[in-house]
Assembly symmetry: C3
Homo-oligomer: 356 residues x 3
């Protein structure tokens, strides 16, 4: 695929700077600044890379106006206010992913009462159960199973081997990656003398618009009320959202995050990879959690939260663990010293019993 | 779906209290106490919610006898000894999940020598390999792959896209959620000068009766002996049970738990989400672990075990990490002070070299 | 299946010791030393099991020459330099796993322009998209979806319900377990005033030779450049490799490991279960990490690294957490004492304000 710099500028509704015939520059690849060469378009993702700019050999560059002076004169420059965002926008022009077929594969099984929008694509070996509604331009990838009475919005894409259980609602322009399971039973059981008694999970999963859900991620249906993912949420792979969780608008979750039942995550939060949230918490809008954070209480204000202990060489770590377990003793020794200094006349009397 | 309060009482083998024609009350929904309205049945899950009871607008309530006096006079009351358990039992009456077809889908591929029980349901795009036995009333969900010589018990349900590998044995009344993989190879390799040499995993996975296995959970087959899940175990999503693990009867595992090879978890344990267990451990019956617990040694008695560091604001956390790494120095300073106080005549001599 | 001790020795290119007709010993099972009986072959995995050797009832044993004197006289002994490695090599002789069909199932859908090597096996309900190349002897398990222009090497085996997205390259003799997703989109989004803007993931996943990838593991494609798994890497279940990660030759990763974007893991590393790696790190060859390690900085030399806090009884743990949060105060108190001892004349003046 090739495209001119002019087309790129038009795509971004941006203006072209650089040499006179810059617009005719032929681009056939997108590349990082330090690896770009002739035929490539690149971008200055952050000011810290500015020093590499003069030597960049890309044929076209996405730059802020203020960096125009640093660009090599050989490059066509597309002037944008946010080069990283512009990169995101043009990246799709270079995708090699085959376009959806806008057809129903002959091996797809579509039960009665399914409503198909315009231009839907339904892949091989799929099953769409009865009463389900697929929006215009939606894509059901091969091997996917869509339960009864599911609603999937316009231009929403399910990749391969996705499972969506009955009565789940998914909005427009979502992308659900391969192996994800949406609407499986929440983990609800009542204890009894005869063991765990399963509680039917009567709620649904409601997914808003422009939501991304990663590969092999699981989102359980609600116990009585619904599990809710608001608009614009992005969720990475292998994450777990339990029943009745609610994720606020625009929140981003890295991979392998786990959120226990009924916890509500606010809007515009950032959840680091492998972070774990206990159940029934309320997390304030704009809370950021670093990776592996152990979240056992809610937050009431935005800000950065962390926990956990970064690696040390194993020998040092073992010593730290040992000391940690002796903190009580350490405090007791300190208290004893304080006492001796506050009672100078009895100083000679108390004897250390254990100096370790 | 609608049901009378009388039918609910009959289902629970419980008696009805409340107004004279309480039994005729029509119920069409199950709802939490604070959200219930006319047409709903609700329940008092725990005494702490008692104060909401008088204002509850539910048409029917599951209550202990001792709470009868607090119920609004308008509600039909079903008197039960354990309302939460009664809720679990009636919840299934309100499920909207389509019933299994009790039929074999035309796209299912069933190899030779498969034995099918009475009333089995086999979904679309499934494969049942040769020599497998499916118990009466068992359900193989769409997209599932069942290997050779597998045995699946009566009324066991596999949801969609489940994989069960050859020779696995699954008991009666189990539920295995979508995307789970049972009987994949254990992670066994011998080091050699030419790299890792794979060890064939010759054992099976043996799953007892009334076991629940969550979406996208993986349970590996044994290396030589079997991996064993005893009766009544419940396992949430995205958990990992390695080869030769044994889980005792009635144990509950929250999501994303990992158990390394050959570890034996006792009966009636509770494993919090994201807990991790090293290999070759013995965990005593009745051990409870909080979320993210790092279990590197076995336990010899029942009780609650914890580890991990709950979140702090990131700035405080960084300070704590720094202090933690200085624990050795802190102890050394304390020891020096103790020494000075024990040797008062040399008090002036030693000088602090580093006060930080 | 039965095999003679002679055939086992031949398979290992090893010599036989023991009684004269040892080679004719009939073996039909592989068993651990303490459970082996007549008809079994066993092995001494490590010297610490030596004391069980004289009582072992196995019909055949894999032993080092130095242990010949400890073997029961009834056993046929195959003399090997590394019994555990020999066990790995012969384990495959005892596998009950059905052999691949070396055929294309009638329900498989193979798009145009697919190149099939000699003796490929393609399972039921699979999809092979256009332009894909399958090497000689490769196996595509049932329910698997292989995207467009994928290359899969000779004798590589994909189990069931595997998803491989477009343009991924997988080498020879790999094994990819059920439910794995290779080449899903990396988690790349640019923030904008209108929310997250998805960045097309233009890179591929390149998997070397003799790589094992566990069940339900996900490996994302690169953003611009490729995600790379070098030769001989072994990866357990439910792990997550983000975009542009690179894993060096021979590295082993236990289950549920997460590696954030662009991190490079060296060769011959060992990553414990549930370990988490931040993005953009460089990890030195031969680095070993214990389970749940929190890796927020790179390593520059080989060796063992650890973090995390092993379980304690919950009551002790709560006290440790409380103390941990008071480390600042503890240090302040210690400093105050040091100050008092260094300024003996002012000793009486300062008063403790808070002894707790």
């Amino acid at each position: 695929m090739t495209i001119t710099a002019r087309k790129i500028a038009e795509h971004l509704q941006a203006s072209l700077a650089g040499n006179a015939d810059a617009g005719d520059t032929i681009i056939d690849r997108l590349a990082p600044l330090d690896q770009a060469g002739p035929g490539d378009v690149s971008f200055l993702a952050a000011d810290k890379y500015l020093k590499s700019l003069p030597d960049c050999r890309a044929s076209a560059l996405l730059l802020k106006e203020s960096h125009l002076g640093d660009a090599p004169s050989t490059a066509a420059v597309v002037v944008v206010s946010d080069p990283y965002l512009a990169y995101a926008r043009i990246s799709h022009l270079f995708s090699q992913e085959p376009a959806p077929a806008k057809a129903i594969h002959s091996s797809a099984i579509i039960e009665s009462g399914v409503q198909l929008g315009e231009g839907v694509s339904i892949g091989a070996h799929t099953l769409i159960e009865s009463g389900t509604i697929l929006g215009d331009g939606s894509v059901i990838g091969p091997g996917s199973v869509i339960g009864a009475r599911v609603r999937i919005g316009a231009n929403t894409v399910l990749k391969a081997n996705v499972t969506v259980h009955h009565d789940v609602v998914i909005g427009d322009q979502c992308m659900i990656h391969s192996g994800a399971v949406i609407g499986g039973d929440g983990f609800g059981f009542a204890p009894s003398s005869a063991g765990w008694v399963k509680i039917a999970q009567l709620g649904r999963v409601i997914v808003g618009n422009r939501v991304e859900i990663g590969s092999n991620t699981t989102i359980d249906r609600g116990a009585i009320a619904d599990t809710v993912i608001e608009d614009g949420v992005i969720i990475d792979n292998l994450s777990m959202l339990a029943h009745n969780v609610r994720i606020g608008r625009g929140t981003a979750m890295a991979a392998q995050v786990g959120i226990a039942g009924s916890t509500r995550i606010g809007a515009h939060c950032i959840l680091g990879g492998q972070a774990g949230f206990a159940g029934h918490l309320d997390i304030a809008d704009g809370s950021h959690f670093t990776g592996q954070a152990m979240v056992t209480k809610g937050t009431t204000e935005s800000g950065a939260y962390s926990s956990g202990w970064p690696i040390q060489p194993a020998r040092e770590w073992r010593r730290t663990v040992a000391r940690l377990r002796q903190l009580d003793k350490l405090e007791a020794r300190l208290k004893a010293l304080e006492h001796r200094l506050d009672s100078p006349d009895t100083e000679q009397t108390p004897k250390k019993e254990d100096s370790e």
